[in-house]
Symmetry: C2
Subunit: 101 residues, 2 copies
């Protein structure tokens, strides 16, 4: 079963671009990780301090394993002080629709 | 520029499956609409009345046009009484990451 996440990240004022940079940097290893099927970082167009990150992984375990890497911990440590509060994480289970292309 | 939406839909108790059915039915025409690049209907695994719908369209106009169809209005009319409140819609602008495959 795939493991799909929607992460809503609210940054402190004027820190969104810096957090986006960290999220893109920290996601680079996923490019060569076949267990990561999607990692999409987006700006909210209506709330200037909000970032949305969509993740699709082959499994819960594959995601946990990627998160446990030591460089990931470093990125988290860098990003946390720039956030308004803890990221909100929604674990979702697709039930249908039109697949991406 | 692509037009990407995250819709968070909160249903009245025990109405989620019915609303999911309506969302899937109403999205069927998108299968043959080349302007719709993704239409993914998901259950929230932690909140039992929450549905997330991710949409990616070729343009804002293409989405508006699809929404204006008369059968779409019928589906909206069916779904509204089953919801807790108006859907929350977040318009997002992708800035990078790993593309879906």
């Amino acid at each position: 079963v795939q493991y799909c996440l929607i992460n809503k990240i609210t940054t402190k004022p004027d820190k969104r671009d810096e957090v986006i940079r960290i999220m893109l940097e920290s996601g680079k290893p996923f490019d060569t990780n076949d267990n990561c099927l999607l990692y999409m970082v987006s700006k909210d167009t209506q709330s200037e301090n909000v970032i949305w990150v969509l993740d699709v992984w082959n499994s819960y375990e594959a995601h946990e394993e990627a998160m446990a890497k030591s460089d990931m911990r470093q990125f988290v440590k860098e990003a946390i002080p720039l956030l308004q509060h803890r990221p909100e994480q929604f674990i979702i289970q697709p039930v249908g629709g039109k697949p991406g292309k």
